[in-house]
């Protein structure tokens, strides 16, 4: 039983990362019906950008330079948000009248460009890079599990960011505009909503969340690599589908469920089954509830 509870704790931590990246997938899908396969690579690029900035501002490998990490994290969120916005302006916006399949292929192309761009970039390249800052091992015990303060902070930040997005979309005028564009783009235009600006903002928010997740990944896991976006992208996409793609709360819930299912799968069946269990859960979900846990609204439209 204690193993079970511990694995739930591990899963929530894991799910915090999945959820943040899944939010970006889900928001873009909600507004454009586009599965942005390059999203995981925004996260990867953010990890490298933060690596370079932190390397420049931090002397030596030191723990607990929280304020430095915080402002670098904010800068990287803005940069990654800008990158996502730029991708939208340069690639997706000119293709808006094209079939959605063309957009998805463009997204896969962009993903390749970003991965290989980082691969050939001087100072970055193909190897695993060691992140300049790591979280100290001190923390607290819960059950027989040891959690570090860094882990707690990461989960709290993820939760706050997700809540922020939830309120932004649900309670503000901008959010109302987003929902309107998602519901019916032409009607939204007729109501005087600047659709292009709303879409650009959605890309910015998605990119910024991926940026935050990337910095936290670097700080906690300590290593980054040019292929890290692919794995996370796949898992976050799965999380978004589990929760109901296009649904903000669904992305977070999906991320947590995926993290917990993977961890419990490891605890019960062994680590080699973690992915089988996670994707098995996805298949079951698509079988019994194809809209995902919270995703009815979108499905009705499809």
């Amino acid at each position: 039983m204690s193993l079970f509870l511990n694995e739930i704790g591990n899963g929530i931590f894991l799910g915090a990362f999945f959820g943040l990246v899944a939010l970006g997938y889900s928001m873009v899908y909600g507004i454009l019906r586009l599965i942005n396969f390059a999203h995981g690579d925004f996260y990867m690029v953010a990890a490298f950008v933060s690596y370079t900035i932190l390397g420049a501002v931090i002397v030596g490998n030191s723990h607990a330079q929280w304020w430095t990490v915080a402002w670098v994290g904010l800068v990287v969120m803005i940069i990654t948000g800008g990158l996502a916005m730029l991708a939208n302006q340069l690639i997706y916006r000119p293709m808006r009248r094209a079939a959605i399949l063309s957009l998805m292929i463009a997204a896969i192309g962009l993903s390749q460009v970003l991965e290989n761009g980082v691969l050939v970039a001087p100072q970055w390249g193909a190897t695993y890079l060691v992140y300049p800052v790591t979280t100290p091992p001190s923390g607290f015990n819960l059950g027989s599990n040891h959690y570090t303060w860094g882990q707690l902070i990461i989960v709290l930040i993820s939760g706050l960011l997700a809540l922020g997005v939830y309120f932004l979309v649900g309670r503000t005028l901008l959010g109302k505009a987003m929902r309107a564009v998602s519901e019916d783009r032409i009607a939204a235009v007729l109501m005087g909503i600047n659709v292009d600006l709303v879409i650009a903002i959605v890309f910015f928010i998605g990119g910024a969340l991926a940026g935050a997740a990337a910095v936290m990944t670097g700080v906690y896991y300590g290593q980054i690599n040019y292929l890290m976006g692919f794995t996370v992208g796949l898992e976050a996409f799965t999380a978004a589908v589990l929760g109901g793609i296009g649904n903000i709360g669904g992305a977070v819930v999906g991320g947590l469920i995926l993290g917990i299912v993977q961890s419990i799968g490891t605890g019960i069946f062994g680590a080699e089954w973690a992915i089988v269990v996670a994707f098995g859960a996805l298949v079951l979900m698509l079988w019994f509830r194809p809209t995902g846990l919270l995703g009815e609204r979108v499905a009705r439209r499809m």
Partner: protein, 399 residues
């Protein structure tokens, strides 16, 4: 011209006779003009991971191979043929490796010298065997590589089954009976984990959590696994995968208080995890962890950071402005083995060179080199390393 050729032949023959090939001699005797430009080049295919997680190790081995080729070419090449290395990225990926093998064979390579990840080396074996050319592997050393019955395969790095056996012996000596064994699902990792598990059981220990565990090579989160380790009460943890994940595993084990100042368990990794990046990646968490690796001739390369064989390190650093990796010396020896085998049989015809490799005896940077009939390196001895203050040292564990 003729005189030069004779001179270089005499020099290399001399090296062959004494059986001692030191870089120091090579470096100081450099500059002998080649007299053999008219003969066709000796085309050697080199598949190495140049991209992906293992790119660093691949580059370090390739660089050393290039150094060896350069050294030989300075001294007249192989029987007058200048060695030409044709490099192809195998990305440590089975599919890419097969493409690389087919491409290089179609380019007419007369020998194949490369391979770091066994998973990428294994699927190329039948292609290279069909081409009938020698396949000398500097670093790949999964026990599976020599079970295919191929007569053209030669492992410079002693078979990885030695890693598992050495680790099991260490656990036994430490009175550790509950060992958690985990691999990375790679061909190498799985085979090494199996050899470790069977050696642990033979020594009277148990592999906890219901047997060998494995985690995808793309995973960077070990928290679920660490909970398993805690709940099983393992006091020994064995990792058979590669260094980048090893660093993350060690870091997270340390943070969870399983190893390190607050932990009591011992963390041992196989030779795929012996790399400077493991130590930089894991930081302080690397201290007090153990690794097994084939005994190198007095710590060649920068693994042990010892003073031994400074000449190789110096020459490498001078040329590439970076430290050699743990397998660089193996790469150097792989090219030397090929060249000496060709000289021994006085031919670069692949079939003859294969026969030459089977009969080869020489002392390279990594010690005495000769091969069993199945291609495994003979007389391999394993070393146990411990990371102390951020450096690999030879371990002398107290029970």
């Amino acid at each position: 011209m003729k005189k030069n050729l004779v001179k270089s032949r005499v020099l290399t023959a001399g090296l062959l006779v004494t059986g001692v090939l030191t870089i120091a001699a090579g470096v100081s005797a450099g500059g002998v003009a080649s007299a053999a430009k008219k003969l066709s080049p000796y085309l050697v295919g080199v598949p190495m991971p140049m991209t992906g997680a293992e790119a660093e190790a691949g580059t370090q081995i390739y660089n050393a191979e290039a150094m060896a080729a350069q050294f030989l070419n300075h001294h007249g090449g192989v029987l007058g043929h200048q060695i030409k290395l044709l490099e192809q990225d195998d990305a440590c990926d089975a599919g890419t490796a097969v493409n690389a093998a087919n491409l290089l064979v179609s380019k007419g390579v007369q020998a194949y010298v490369g391979g770091y990840c066994s998973g990428a080396t294994l699927p190329a074996e039948p292609i290279i065997a069909r081409a009938g050319i020698p396949y000398v592997m500097p670093a790949a050393n999964s026990p599976e590589l020599t079970t295919g019955g191929y007569k053209n395969v030669f492992l410079i790095d002693p078979s990885g089954s030695g890693d598992g056996i050495e680790a099991a012996a260490f656990f036994k000596q430490q009175h550790i009976t509950k060992v958690f064994v985990i691999d990375d699902q790679s061909s190498f990792g799985v085979a090494i984990a199996q050899s470790a598990a069977s050696a642990i059981k033979k020594n009277g220990g148990t592999v906890v959590a219901g047997g060998i565990q494995s985690i995808p090579a793309t995973s960077n989160d070990f928290s679920a696994v660490i909970s398993q380790i805690k709940s099983a009460g393992a006091t020994g943890i064995y990792w058979s995968g590669y260094f980048s994940q090893a660093a993350q595993f060690a870091t997270q084990l340390n943070a969870a208080g399983v190893i390190g100042p607050h932990g009591t368990a011992k963390f041992v990794v196989a030779d795929g995890s012996v790399d400077a990046t493991y130590i930089t990646g894991a930081g302080a968490a690397a201290n007090g962890t153990y690794a097994t690796i084939a005994a190198l001739a007095s710590g060649v390369g920068n693994v042990l950071g010892s003073n031994a064989d400074k000449a190789f390190n110096r020459a490498y650093v001078k040329q590439f402005h970076a430290q050699p990796g743990p397998y660089s010396a193996f790469g150097y020896d792989a090219i030397m083995a090929l060249a000496l085998a060709a000289k021994h049989v006085k031919s670069i015809v692949p079939k003859r060179v294969i026969a030459g490799l089977h009969a080869l005896h020489f002392v390279g940077l990594t010690g005495k080199i000769s091969f069993a009939a199945d291609g495994n390196r003979l007389g391999a001895v394993m070393d146990l390393l411990e990371v102390v203050n951020g450096k690999y040292t030879l371990a002398h564990p107290q029970p």
